[in-house]
Subunit: 148 residues, 2 copies
Amino acid sequence: MRELDIAEVAQRSGLAASTLRYYEEKGLIASIGRHGLRRVFGAEVLDRLALVALGRAAGFSLEEMARMFAPDGRPRIDRGALAGKADELDRTIRRLGAVSRGLRHAAACKAPSHMECPTFRRILKAAAAGALEETRQAKTPRPRRVPA
Amino acid sequence: MRELDIAEVAQRSGLAASTLRYYEEKGLIASIGRHGLRRVFGAEVLDRLALVALGRAAGFSLEEMARMFAPDGRPRIDRGALAGKADELDRTIRRLGAVSRGLRHAAACKAPSHMECPTFRRILKAAAAGALEETRQAKTPRPRRVPA
DNA sequence: CTGCCACTTCAAGCCGACTTGAGGTCAAGC
DNA sequence: GCTTGACCTCAAGTCGGCTTGAAGTGGCAG
């Protein structure tokens, strides 16, 4: 099995080396050893990182994920939690669809003030209602500051 | 026109009074005056707040929104920016759809290790790719800590 | 053998959107 | 007129997910 150096994992995963160290500290990934001071990773870490990416995209926190696959090595994930997250995502998707329609309407509608447009007011009301929900959600990672 | 006290605006909008003060500081809303020390709001602040909620749901930052309707009173929003945000949202929606399907698959699939399932690996790859995108996204506000 | 430089650790900083706390003011009800 | 408590200000804290910086280590090319 290929042994990877942190820079290689970084390059292949698109994550910064500092992020990988951080993930290791949080128990999301593990190196298979050291070469001197330097971490040595097995190729399977890339699968793990893909899994982490999926989890992040789904809105799991690093902590939650660490708990999910901390026990032994293999994921051992609570299927119910996954289905729950999926339901949550689907709700979010519907909400975002409404928001998107709202934006498009606002962009297209020629009314002098949107506030006078009943369609817009209706959408607005829905967004206001949605914003009160406590559904914590899926944010894509902030743009990587790519080192020069 | 009804004059509203901050507690009333808070109650009607579902936001904390501290949030309203914060929004005012950021230029997102304005009070129509003071009664002694106390802010007095006009009823239109509620429309404004609904607009802010829509914007937040769409993934605009408070700063962006402040710039959007800072000028005079009326929104005066860049329609292109709205359409752009809508496009971004639609992309996010598609991505989240994929993530949701991935989760459901992981929840249902009986394979001992998901890593051996080609379907899952494909979805994973997509999520990994998506996670690298720089599309900053729509997070629903964190659960309000409702004061006892 | 030497020097370079990619790696290491650890603590501190950053971002956005708020919340919290201390200490102060003042309109209104008794 | 006094008390009450809802409001005020301002500074600092919180949270998650990293990044940054200083200071150190050590593998390997020359």
